[in-house]
Each structure stands twice: as structure tokens, then as C-alpha cells.
Symmetry: C2
Subunit: 190 residues, 2 copies
């Protein structure tokens, strides 16, 4: 027997992604989101949701571009901080001592110290209420060599992404390897 918890956003896991943008004045800014995910394989697209009152909202609307920066667990305090203060008031790069780097392909900065970066071109917006969805076509993914497996793919155990859990409002690390996708379930139903 399941207990009803009402209409809310208690899904798990959600990501801890840092959105990079340049504001109207050209100042680089970053903010944290947990409402987002990959939304298309071809073209590769990612969706992020922002509130209209956010400094990043106006910046992405203006520049038609953003980056998704994926921090390692070691940068969880910085990831938390840039979600608590507004880029309208604070230079978050200066406050966190993180480094803004101009993207190669889009008009948005990325975070040098975060090991995985997606450069995104805004292709759709969808106003849903409190949040607006921004859909970005991923034009390039950049990764630090230190998080790559010998085969060339990103090694999750080296990347150590952070996981956010709504309701509990907690950050978690990545746990143990459970198994290989498209393999673990073989044999069921046979």
C-alpha cells in the first residue's frame, strides 16, 4: 500500500548542473539547477528549467546560448553556493575563485575547474508556469583528460558527479557500479 504524498516534484535522482551564461553587460555568471536532463539523442539536446526572475534567465534569452558544467563531488560547496546567490548582485566566479573560459562554439562561458562541459545553443523555450524550459542543442562536449577511461569514454567513477534529492534536499555522491546497461537484464523472461 503506497502513501500519497500529493502533487509535487519528489523524483530521484536529479542532477547538480551549473549553468554558465554571459549577462547583458558581458559578465560571466553561473547558477545551479536540478531541474533538467538529456531530452534528445539526434540532434543531441539537453533541457534545463529556469525561473523567470533568475539573472540567468535573461542572459540565456539574450545570448541564445548556455553551458552545462558538471562539477565533481569535491566542488559540492561551490555548486551549492552558486545556487543560493544572484549573479545580479554577486560576481560568483570571483567569490568561488572558479575560472570563466569563453566557449569555442557558443556565446557562454564554461567553468575551467569542472571536468565535464556541454556547449549549448538555445533552440526552444517552453513556459510551464514557475519555470521555463530551455532546450539546448549540444554542439560540443568537453572533458578533462583526468576523467576519461582508457577507452576514451567518461569514467563515472573518475568524474564523480553530484546527485540532488528533492524533498530531502541533500547532495549525494555516485555509489557502487551496479552493472552494464543493455546487459544486466538479459535472461529475464526466458
Amino acid at each position: 500500500m503506497k502513501k500519497s504524498l500529493g502533487a509535487n516534484t519528489l523524483a530521484q535522482p536529479t542532477p547538480v548542473w551549473i549553468i554558465g551564461s554571459y549577462d547583458e553587460a558581458g559578465k560571466p555568471n553561473i547558477m545551479t539547477i536540478a531541474w533538467g536532463g538529456i531530452c534528445c539523442s539526434k540532434p543531441p539536446c539537453v533541457t534545463i528549467s529556469l525561473r523567470k526572475e533568475r539573472h540567468t534567465y535573461a542572459a540565456v534569452m539574450l545570448r541564445k546560448a548556455f553551458t552545462v558544467n558538471i562539477p565533481s563531488q569535491a566542488h559540492a560547496p561551490e555548486a551549492d553556493y552558486v545556487g543560493m546567490v544572484s549573479g545580479a548582485k554577486v560576481d560568483k566566479f570571483a567569490a568561488t575563485k572558479l575560472t570563466a573560459v569563453r566557449s569555442d562554439l557558443v556565446d557562454a562561458p564554461y567553468v575551467q575547474e569542472f571536468p565535464l562541459v556541454l556547449e549549448c545553443r538555445l533552440i526552444e523555450t517552453l513556459d510551464l508556469g514557475a519555470h521555463t524550459q530551455f532546450i539546448g542543442e549540444i554542439l560540443d562536449v568537453k572533458a578533462d583528460e583526468s576523467v576519461l577511461a582508457p577507452e576514451g569514454h567518461i569514467d563515472p567513477a573518475k568524474l564523480r558527479p553530484i546527485i540532488y534529492t528533492p524533498g530531502a534536499s541533500q547532495y549525494y555522491g555516485l555509489g557502487e557500479l551496479v552493472g552494464k546497461a543493455f546487459s544486466l537484464g538479459k535472461g529475464i523472461g526466458e
Copy 2:
């Protein structure tokens, strides 16, 4: 110096969510997705992306409803299996010995054995290419008592959601508690 990995979907973490629907004939079906996330707080909404050729695509289009079922790590083999076979050919509930329960509020089944369930009413679709985004308003969240903390919220360490990592194509468990959101970063920049 970051290495370019090209235009692709190598973001982490992504969820392992099981989408429940009734097909045209009324048969309950489930499939796995990793392309999705929460997309609005008010009204509470979730986005999932499906390929047009999927059996679930036609079902959700027809019924205007779906469930998001969040399995615990113990059910990772079943979660993997229902992503590998088509509901057009296989009764996946029978094959996995999982139990379909009719939702209270929407025209879709949920999985009794999975501890967290979102009942969703389809409110928007957006064709992006290989995938179409389905946005569901979350009308209710249901949880097993066994995954609730004494304070009433969902305890991530009891839920044990599964994390998918594109590229590596691996499933991971939830790791250690890193810290409290809106708290861990306090003191930075002061």
C-alpha cells in the same frame, strides 16, 4: 586543457525511470528511460523523452497519461530488461513478474514493487528529432512507507535510486551523503 568529445549526450547523472502506460488494447506496459527530469515546480511537471517507434509513444499519445516509476537498486535487472524488449511483442509485467496497478488519478498503470511513483497527465509534447519530449503534470506522488524518513520525506538512502551514465552505459547506485543543499556552500565569498 579540455578534450573535445564532439556533439553528443554525455551528461551525468541521468535517471533510471520506468514509464508505465496502457496501450490501445488496454495492456499495461513499461519501458525504461534515462532522458528525462523534473522541469517545473508549479505546477509540478516532469519531462520524459521517447522515440516515435516505441510502443509507449503511441500509448501515451492515446491515453494522455503516464506514470514514472522509480525502482530501487535491487530491481536494476528488471529496469534494464524492460528497456531492451518491446511491449508490442512481450508482456513485460508477466516476464518480470512485476505487478501492474491502475493509477488513482490518470489512465496509466504503476509498478507495485517500485517504491516511488509519479502519476502524470500529459500536458505538452515537443518533437525534437529522434526523440519527442512528453511533459506530464505530476498529479500525485506515491511512496512505500519503507522509503520514508521519520519526518515524512523520502529518504534517498532507503529509496536507493539507480543512476545511468551515458557513454559508459553503466548503472550506479547512490553513494555517500555529501551534504545539505542551501547549506553546504554557506561561507563562500564572505
